[in-house]
Amino acid sequence: MIKIHVTSLLVDDQEKALKFYTEKLGFVKKTEIPLGEHKWLTVVAANELNGVELVLEPIGFEPAKTYQKALKDAGIPLTSFKVDDLNKEYERLKSEGVKFSMEPKTMGPVIMAVLDDTCGNNIQLVQKL
């Protein structure tokens, strides 16, 4: 059986990303393996330490930067994370200075919001209603 074990997110600065994803979003660092000037850096959800790992991958490839910027400018999220209570998370993150390009919005069976991860990406938070 094939399983999803990692998913990747391109970031402009791995250290800054680690800080944001752990200190603001509440993920936990899982692996940090030095690889030349960068590292294999992954985080996981605090309540799923053996769950899918999110790779905070350095963006070195120029066309990827163009793609990332185009998504960012259009407000399109690169990926989406699930939360139990979106309004609560929104208020918490806003009070910690996180910027949102889309405030909580109900869309059919979900409520979602989009935040700026400060590393070049829009990230969507989703709560299933």
Binding site: G75, S101, M102, K105, M107, G108, P109, K128
Partner: protein
């Protein structure tokens, strides 16, 4: 007021063009809330459909379209997740069985095993050894 992003305007368009009217989502959500409140009781599908103010047939089809699972399976998963929490909190398997709306220990154990891959007792033992 903050200017909407391209993404947000596209989302609004998509939802406007959705084949399902907003009240259908609200009705189905109502039934989901009902299951979340009453999972510990014996609830029949007709009663759940009633909470959504729909016929049973229409309700099942709509629930599956929106959530990708049947209401029966959703309720089963909900009960198993609650059971996992209660076992972790130290309740006995028999107590958990009744707390999550099953009146037969055997049916509960089979549903738990199908949902988690472990019997309730195995799951309980794993949690005790994890705590130690």
């Amino acid at each position: 007021m903050k200017k909407k992003t391209y993404y947000e305007t596209q989302l609004e368009k998509v939802i406007e063009q959705s084949a399902l009217p907003e009240y259908h989502y609200l009705q189905v959500r109502q039934s989901k809330d009902f299951m979340e409140k009453c999972y510990s009781e014996k609830i029949e599908l007709d009663k759940i459909a009633m909470a959504a103010c729909m016929s049973r047939f229409h309700y099942i089809r709509l629930f599956q379209t929106i959530y990708g699972t049947t209401p029966r399976q959703y309720l089963k998963d909900l009960r198993i997740n609650k059971a996992k929490e209660l076992i972790k909190n130290g309740l006995s398997v028999a107590q958990v069985c009744y707390e999550v709306g099953y009146d037969s220990l055997q049916t509960f154990s089979s549903a738990f095993k199908r949902g988690t891959g472990f019997s309730p007792r195995e799951y309980q033992k794993m949690n005790i050894s994890n705590r130690e």
